[in-house]
């Protein structure tokens, strides 16, 4: 892994009315890394993804992607620049077949044909279901379809929002293997939001902790799991 930055989040604040969902967040994302993003419910993880992907404008601050300021670009342009994402609540195109779901984004990248899109379905273990309607898939498969669809954009960064929530133990293990596999196969940078602590600790090289919109810790999984502030933020919520 090089130390080169692929994305820089500078001082990003996001207000929803009076709610400060993100508070002066700074992150340097290294090219090729898997960066874990954790924090209690409502700490701003999804909001950060929404700001990066241009779906919500940042109230303050900037986002640079490969040296270019992408802060005020519209979402479809940001997607085409190479930032793919999944949704915390799955939203496949239910009335379309699995392969058609992937083709929608695949055809934009310009680098993908039907064959490459089918390869992505192989990687995400959905190839047997390519002709089925997306709404027929089970939750684990729908989550994989979200990843497949994002991969079809040939992104350089993939933002994965709780893609393991609601999965069984075995499914989580398979998903972890797939995510590392994808990173290596496609040379991607991945930012991973996950509640399953075991999972995020296993797969991330670096972890970033948000609490009430503020970054409270950043470091290796070991460092973060021993951090006092992090323990309080988590335990404080669990009382």
């Amino acid at each position: 892994m090089s130390q080169e930055n692929i994305m820089t989040i500078n001082n990003v604040t996001k207000m929803f009315g009076g709610i400060r969902a993100l508070n002066k967040v700074n992150v340097e994302v290294k090219k090729g890394e898997i960066l874990g993003l954790i924090g209690p419910n409502g700490s701003g993880k999804t909001t950060l993804f929404n700001v990066i992907s241009g779906f919500y404008p940042a109230t303050e601050g900037t986002i640079e992607f490969k040296g270019e300021n992408i802060t005020n670009l519209s979402p479809h342009k940001i997607a085409r620049k190479g930032i793919g994402r999944t949704f915390q609540i799955v939203r496949p195109f239910g009335d379309m077949t699995v392969i058609d779901n992937v083709l929608v984004s695949g055809l934009f990248s310009g680098k993908m044909g039907v064959k490459q899109c089918r390869d992505i379905l192989k990687t995400t273990r959905l190839i047997e279901r390519e002709g089925d309607l997306a709404e027929m898939l089970n939750l684990a498969e729908k989550r994989r379809l979200e990843i497949a669809r994002a991969l079809a954009l040939s992104p350089e960064i993939l933002l994965l929002d709780e893609t393991m929530a609601g999965l069984t133990h075995t499914e989580v293990d398979e998903s972890l293997k797939m995510i590392s596999g994808i990173r290596n196969e496609f040379g991607l940078t991945i930012i991973l939001v996950e509640h399953v602590m075991r999972a995020i600790m296993a797969v991330s090289e670096r972890i970033l902790v948000l609490s009430e919109g503020t970054k409270i810790a950043e470091g290796s999984p070991k460092e973060v799991s021993e951090n006092e502030q992090v323990l309080t933020a988590y335990l404080g919520r669990r009382v």
Binding site: F55, H76, R80, D95, N101, V104, S105, L107, F108
Partner: protein, 287 residues
């Protein structure tokens, strides 16, 4: 009740049903893509008819150029109307859409009145009519039906097999997810609206070959198109075609055995009953 009258009624009904279906498809595609109800459908059907008619007066040898020109003008007109007006209506209250598009209707109708006078026009193409006993089948109606079927198949094929079609379907289902997959929704809206208007114009150009029309004559067709859209399930083009054939046949039966004036009333009664028994339309899934 003679068998000939029955057969003739069904044939006429299916024929006009194709036209209702086409106009309904125009409406339903626009609604499906951007949740806008095109209240200017009636005036656009008539404009399509006039463009076909106008082309024919310049080149009175075949029906084809009129159809092609009408389709082309419809497409460009759709882009223009979207960019100037409809773009600003997205997400606005229904009442705003209603008023703006009624305004557009009024502008179009009065412009047509000025350009082409209030006299009913028709495209006087000489299509032979074949008679079998008391049943007569005019080849113009057959031609128009075939054109409507071809257009429907074309639209469905575009939806199913092309990139543009996949993108439109994606936008219909989840605009936000589509955006974040790299789809430029504004561009899809422009083309979706324009495609809808194109079908509306085509319906007009085709009906002009069979029925007389005049500047303010669009409303009855538009009303039927609305019924067809509801009956065929909002946003479902295939449903529209079926619903078109059903409503066309009903229309024809009411005309043959009662009085044509009552046809819209009966069509709306069917729509209301459908609403009560099957709110999702004939083709819709439960819930």
């Amino acid at each position: 009740m003679s068998l000939e009258l029955l057969a003739q009624t069904i044939i006429n009904g299916l024929f006009i049903g194709f036209l209702f279906g086409l106009a309904g498809m125009g409406l339903t595609i626009i609604f499906g893509v951007m949740k806008i109800i095109n209240f200017a459908t009636g005036a656009m059907i008539m404009l399509g008819a006039y463009v076909g008619y106008w082309t024919y007066t310049y080149w009175p040898y075949s029906a084809i150029p009129g159809i092609i020109v009408s389709v082309g003008v419809g497409f460009l007109f759709g882009i223009l109307v979207y960019q100037v007006l409809v773009r600003r209506l997205i997400g606005k209250p229904l009442l705003t859409t209603l008023l703006v598009l009624f305004g557009l209707t009024s502008i179009l109708e009065n412009s047509m009145l000025n350009l082409w006078s209030p006299n009913p026009r028709s495209i006087p193409i000489d299509f032979p009519t074949y008679s079998y006993g008391l049943i007569s089948i005019s080849t113009s109606r057959v031609f128009v039906s075939i054109m409507a079927i071809v257009a429907t198949i074309l639209v469905l094929a575009v939806f199913k097999y092309t990139t543009f079609g996949r993108i439109i379907r994606a936008v219909i289902q989840d605009k936000i997810a589509a955006t974040l997959m790299g789809v430029d929704v504004n561009r899809v809206y422009t083309l979706g609206f324009s495609l809808g208007v194109t079908l509306t114009f085509l319906a007009g150009a085709l009906l002009a070959m069979v029925y007389p029309f005049e500047p303010f004559g669009g409303l009855p067709y538009a009303l039927m198109a609305f019924v067809v859209v509801v009956l065929g399930t909002l946003g479902n083009p295939v449903g529209c075609l079926f619903a078109g054939l059903i409503i066309g046949t009903v229309h024809s039966f009411v005309g043959s055995y009662w009085t044509l004036n009552m046809s819209p009333a009966v069509a709306y009664l069917i729509m209301i009953i459908t609403f009560l028994l099957r709110p999702q339309g004939l083709m819709g899934k439960k819930e």
